[in-house]
Structure formats: C-alpha cells, structure tokens
C-alpha cells in the first residue's frame, strides 16, 4: 500500500519542527485507554494549550491576582495595566484600524467568546437599529451562535432573516448573496471559516457588496483566527468576533471588534460596575467604549492569558502555522480519498484545517466511538450547524480538525483507524 501511493507534493515545511511545537503542549503527551498515544483532531471545538499559556495563568493567580480598574494598590494597578495591554495586543493581532477618535484598541471589547460577542451585537446594535421591514442576511453554513441571536432579535424587532444559500461543494453562493442584497438589508452576518466544512468565505468580496448596498457586516472569526493572519481593516468588516480557547488560549474569553463609530452609537449591553461613568437615581451615565460593554469584574486571568496565547502564536508565525496546516490538510484529504466508500463533506476550493466526511453507511457516532477507543479524538454530529446538515441532506459528519501541532503520523493513525471502522461496521 505504501508503494502504491502516488508521489505527494508539496512536502510539509522542512523548517517547521512540529515535534518541537508538540513538546510545548502538556496535554498532547498523554495516553488514553489502553496505552494509546492521544491523537487530538478536535481542534475546531477547542485547541490544547501551550505551556506558555498555562504558565501565564498560574503566574497571575500565584503572584498578580487583584481586581482591575478599582484599586489604588500596586497589585491592582499592575493587573489593570496587564489587562489593558492585552487589548492593544488583540487590536494588533487582528489588525484593528485607527478610528477618527481614540486608539485602535478601544474598539476591542472583551467577551466570553464568539457566542457572547454576537449576542452583544444583536442585543445592542440589533435592538437599536433593526425595525420591521429591515433584513438580516445569514449564510446557510452558520454556526448556531450566528443564527439564534439574530432569530431572536428579528422576532423582537420585526426585521426579517434571509438565508444566503450554500452550493453542493459547500461554498457560499456569492451571486445569490448579491441578489438578496437590497436597501432593506441592514446586516450581513457570515462566518469567515466554516467549522463544519472548513470553507473559507470570501469576506472581502462579501463586505464590498454588502457595503455597496448600505449594509453592515459581522464576521464570525472563531475558526479563522487560529489558522490565518487576520486584518479586519483589509477585510473591511464592521464587526469581528472570536474565541480565545480555539486559538490556544483559555476558555471563557474572546473578543468583539467593532468600528468605533458603531460602538459609540450602540447602547450598553449589561448594566453594573465598570461600565458606568456616574450612577445616581436621577439617571446614570455610561463609560466610554469599550468599558461601556464590560459590566462587572471581567475574566482577568483569562484576558491576560489570551494575550499570552496571541504572543505565542505571533512568535510561531501565523503564516508558517497556516502553511503547515494547509499542507497537512492536503495530505489528509489525499489519504482520505484512498479509503473506500468515504464521502468528503465540503470540498470548497479554499479550505482551512477541517476534514469532514462520512464513511459508507456507518453512523458518525459509531465511527467516532471506535476512533475514540483507538485514542483518536474527532467530533461527530451536526457541529452546531443543523441548517447546513439539512441543506446537505445528511444527519451529521465525522470531523477531523487540525492545529499547529498535528503531524502526518496523526493523519496516518486516523486513516488506519478508519480502515478499522470499515472492517467493524462493513
């Protein structure tokens, strides 16, 4: 079988020392079940954390812990500075442009993750801007977290949801999008990269068309930030959301980027401490952006460790990571195609880090369970994209998703595992 395989090109980057990368991830060093070395291919759900991020969390809790923005004492001041410094790093990390007023990083709002970022925009911008007769366009491949908040706000405001179709190979139908755009369109909300198919959507083009129609654009960057360089200024988007835990950072922290003008005009999100200017029973005035959207004690440690994750990825070089993952995805796709009865789900021309498939009549749950016993972590099911599953007329998929530390051996183990699945259920 080795010999029969065609020559592959291009080879993985020889300078990319994936073993040295792996060595930085304690969780990857373990065995599961009966001494099966762990093959972790569920990175689209969440990535493992490098030692640098774990250490940063530990250092914060062992030496630096204090509440931010309120203290005169030294620990509080240091925590506040570290916390605010990450805002600058995040702004830089995603290429937030300088607004007319204030610094670029004032456009970064900390949230619990992508889900909360989208809910924040829906609850503030959506509630104040949308009204009956307006339309919100979403694609058929959106994660539920970029569907349900819009459904709810549309119900509340009387605006209408319209769905941008997806082609058979899993690409967003840009022509159909153009046809859907009109002066009624207030917002186009699309994912940058599909978590189920890996499709990279042409955000720049979408933004251009949407803006020409006078609509705003929100991009769900949960699956793009970990895998490619992001420049929100170049993409031209109005809102951009992502999660720390999918980019080697902690859970419970993410960010929303919004254009300053929009953020300024938006009402606050939650009420409480930190988001106010002055409180009196006669009336309360609010803090400036971004603090207006950050009520209560934030996830300080996680913000600081998110900064460490961004620094770590920058040191790795996102372009190099992207190249490594691209070559690995190509390799995985070729290996998968050698398996009888496999059906790849999502064959877009531009893809990132996701291999979704079905194996003959084998239910994804069965395949996932056997792979799990072999020490191979994949995800099975609808991946929180039920409308997309309905469109593709499948109940779900088996999804292997890659990260910077995955190797050819991981892919070989997956391919061998799938052969076992075939013999067990065939």
């Amino acid at each position: 079988m080795e010999a029969a395989r065609p020559q592959r090109e291009p080879a993985l980057d020889a300078d990319y020392d994936v073993e040295a990368v792996r060595a930085q991830f304690p969780a990857l060093q373990q065995e599961v079940y009966d001494e099966q070395p762990l093959v972790y291919l569920d990175n689209a759900a969440t990535t493992q954390k490098p030692q640098a991020v774990v250490d940063r969390l530990e250092r914060y809790y062992t030496r630096e812990n204090a509440n931010v923005h309120r203290g005169v004492h030294v620990l509080s001041q240091q925590a506040s500075s570290a916390y605010e410094a990450v805002r600058e790093r995040v702004a830089d990390f995603i290429g937030a442009p300088e607004p007319d007023r204030g610094p670029a990083h004032a456009q970064i709002v900390y949230t619990r993750g992508t889900t909360e970022a989208i809910n924040l925009v829906a609850a503030t911008w959506g509630r104040s801007e949308l009204e009956a007769g307006d339309e919100v366009l979403l694609s058929r491949m959106e994660h539920h977290s970029n569907i349900v908040p819009w459904q709810r706000i549309c119900e509340e405001t009387g605006a209408e949801l319209k769905v941008i179709p997806v082609t058979d190979r899993g690409e967003l139908d840009v022509e159909a999008l153009e046809a859907l755009l009109s002066e009624r369109t207030e917002l186009v909300a699309v994912t940058h990269v599909s978590n189920t198919l890996g499709t990279i959507n042409p955000v720049e083009r979408i933004t251009e068309k949407a803006h020409a129609a006078g609509a705003k654009v929100l991009v769900d960057g949960a699956q793009s930030v970990p895998h490619m360089e992001i420049d929100v200024a170049e993409l031209g988007v109005d809102f951009f959301c992502f999660s720390g835990h999918k980019m080697y950072g902690p859970t419970g922290i993410g960010a929303l980027y919004g254009r300053r003008k929009l953020l300024d005009a938006m009402p606050p999100y939650q009420g409480g401490g930190d988001m106010i200017d002055e409180v009196s029973f006669g009336g309360t005035t609010y803090a400036e952006v971004p603090h207006k959207f950050e009520a209560g004690t934030p996830s300080i440690a996680d913000v600081i460790a998110l900064g460490a994750a961004a620094a770590w990825l920058d040191d790795m070089g996102r372009e190099r990571v992207h190249e490594h993952e691209r070559a690995l995805l190509r390799y995985a796709t070729e290996r998968a195609r050698e398996i009888d009865d496999i059906r790849l789900i999502g064959t877009a021309r531009e893809k990132a880090s996701v291999l979704s498939f079905l194996l003959g009549d084998v239910h994804p749950y069965d395949a996932g369970t056997v792979l799990d016993r072999l020490g191979i972590a994949v995800r099975t099911g609808h991946h929180c994209t039920q409308p997309l599953m309905e469109r593709l007329e499948i109940p779900g998929t088996v999804r292997a998703s890659l990260a910077c530390y995955n190797t050819r051996e991981d892919i070989d183990r997956l391919a061998e595992g799938l052969e076992k699945v075939r013999t067990m259920f065939g």
Binding site: Y33, H363, D366, V370, G381, P395
Partner: protein, 142 residues
C-alpha cells in the same frame, strides 16, 4: 405455577461471562454490534417521536408492551450500530421480567463488560435516557 425466566442478575452474569471471552475492546465491540443485529425489532410503524429516545446523537427507539403476567416486553432499534447494541443489551437483561425488578435493576454489569465509557451521563448515546425510559415504564406498570 408460571415458569420464571432467569432473573435480571442471572442474565447480567451471563453477559459478563460472554463478554469475558474477549480480551480486547475490539472483540467486545464486535460482539456488541452482533448482539445489536439480533435486537427484538421495533415495528417500523412505531419508529415515531413517541418511542424516540431523546439526548442521543443517533436515532434510537424503544417500545414497551405489557406481556404475560404483567411483565413488560421490549423492542427497539437504532440507526447507529453501537447504540443498537447497547439497546439490545438492556433488552436482553430486562425483557419479560417483573416490572418491579426492572424498576429496581442494577445495571452495573455494563461496566463489567468493558462498556464503562458508555455509562457517562453526558455521553450522547442515549443509554441513560433508555434506562430511564425503561425504568419509568416499569415503575408505572408495577
């Protein structure tokens, strides 16, 4: 006197012995899948929402009907082979038993046969929901 079939515990012991013949997880899984092929089949007409077990990634149905002596007779199916096997295991142990015994059954044997990873309540295989539904029916019938 009606002939009493083997007790729940005796059937569970039998399964433990049967699965004990395999020393690797793969053999045990293949046996589970084989058992699933012999599941007392629920009629297609009953593969509806009323018999569907919620909380499962695959589709799974279980139906209980009163049989002789007030004992419950179970049928079931799933579109996933492992889930079908798990349903078959439950049915093999609990079918045609006094409802009070079903309601009180200790299903620890699932761990003993090397299926412990399926026992977690958060695993979306429907096993917990199946057990609850079966026991619920048995309690109402008892």
């Amino acid at each position: 006197m009606e002939t009493q079939s083997a007790t729940i515990d005796a059937r569970a012991d039998e399964l433990v012995a049967e699965f004990g013949l395999f020393d690797g997880w793969m053999g045990r899984y293949e046996h589970l899948i084989d058992l699933g092929r012999e599941i007392p089949q629920i009629a297609d007409a009953h593969k509806d929402d009323a018999h569907r077990i919620e909380g499962c990634q695959s589709k799974v149905w279980v139906r209980a009907e009163p049989g002789e002596g007030g004992r419950l007779r179970f049928t079931g199916d799933s579109n996933a082979a492992i889930t079908r096997g798990l349903a078959a295991l439950l049915i093999r142990v609990l079918d045609d038993q006094p409802p009070a015994d079903v309601a009180a059954a200790d299903l620890g044997f699932l761990g003993e046969i090397g299926m412990e990873e399926h026992l977690s309540p958060t695993r979306k295989n429907g096993l917990h929901a199946m057990v609850e539904q079966i026991k619920g029916r048995a309690r109402r019938a008892a």
